[in-house]
C-alpha cells in the first residue's frame, strides 16, 4: 500500500544542510519543549493525586521532588513551561501577521530565550527563598 509513487525525484535539503538560525532553533525547541511538557503534566497530576491520597503519599512525592534529581527535573519542567509559553506568544503575534520581517523574527527568537531563562530563574529564586 504505497501512498506515494516511488518516482526518482530530487530530495529537498534537510537540517544538516542549513546553518542554524535563531528562528530555526526556537522552532525546534518549541516542539521539544511541547513534547516534554506532555509528559511533565504527570508531575502536576502526581502532586494533586498524592495530596488527595493522604499525608504519606504526599510526603513521598515531596521527598522525590525535593531530591537533587527531582529538583533538576522540576527546573527543566519550569523552563520548558516558560519557553513554550513565550514561544506560543511569539506564534500568536505571528498569527496577526506582525513581526514577520527579519529583524522582528530574530528579536522575537532571542526574546523567547532570554525571557524563559529569566522567568525560570525568578520562579526558582522564589521557591528557594525561605
Amino acid at each position: 500500500m504505497s501512498r506515494t509513487s516511488e518516482a526518482q525525484r530530487p530530495l529537498s535539503p534537510h537540517l544538516q544542510i542549513y546553518k542554524p538560525t535563531v528562528t530555526m532553533v526556537m522552532s525546534i525547541l518549541h516542539r521539544i519543549t511541547g513534547a516534554a511538557l506532555f509528559f511533565g503534566t504527570l508531575l502536576v497530576v502526581a502532586l494533586l493525586v498524592a495530596m488527595a491520597a493522604g499525608p504519606n503519599a504526599y510526603g513521598t512525592v515531596q521527598a522525590i521532588y525535593g531530591s537533587i534529581p527531582g529538583k533538576l527535573v522540576l527546573f527543566g519542567y519550569t523552563w520548558a513551561l516558560f519557553h513554550h509559553m513565550l514561544g506560543g506568544v511569539r506564534h500568536l503575534i505571528w498569527d496577526t501577521g506582525a513581526m514577520f520581517d527579519r529583524q522582528g523574527r530574530t528579536s522575537l527568537g532571542w526574546a523567547t530565550l532570554v525571557g524563559s531563562a529569566g522567568l525560570t530563574l525568578l520562579v526558582w529564586a522564589l521557591v528557594l527563598m525561605r
Binding site: G34, L37, V45, V49, M51, P55, G59, G88, D95
Partner: protein, 131 residues
Amino acid sequence: MHSEKKSIRTPIARVRGLGAAKSGTGHFWLQRLTAVSNIPLTLAMVVIVVMLAKLDYAGARALVANPLVGILLIAFLVSALVHMRLGMQIIIEDYVHEEGMKIVLILLNTFFAVLMGLASIYAILRIGFGG
C-alpha cells in the same frame, strides 16, 4: 483509492465527503484558543505550586481546598490537557507514517490526556469537598 482508470467523476465529486471542508480549521482554532487560555492559567498554576512548596500537608490541602485555587487548577488542567493532546497529535502525524501504529498512538494520546484530567480533577474535588 486513486486508480489510474479513466473516470467520469469530476474532481470535486471525488473529494466531497472526505472531510476538511469548513470544519478543517477546528484543530487549528482550538490550539490557538487553549494557547491563549493557557497563558494566565499556567501562570496561576506556577504561583500555586510555588506556594505549595512552602506549606506542610495540612496547609497545602487547605490551599487547594480554596474554591478559587481549585477552580483555577481545574481550568489549567482542562486547558493544558486539551492543548497538549492537540500538539502531540500533530507530532505523531508528522513522524509516524505507518498507518496502524499512527492510529494506535493517536488513541493512546487521547486516553492519556483524559486519564490525567480525570485523576487530577477527581483529586482536586475530593480535597475541596473534604473527602
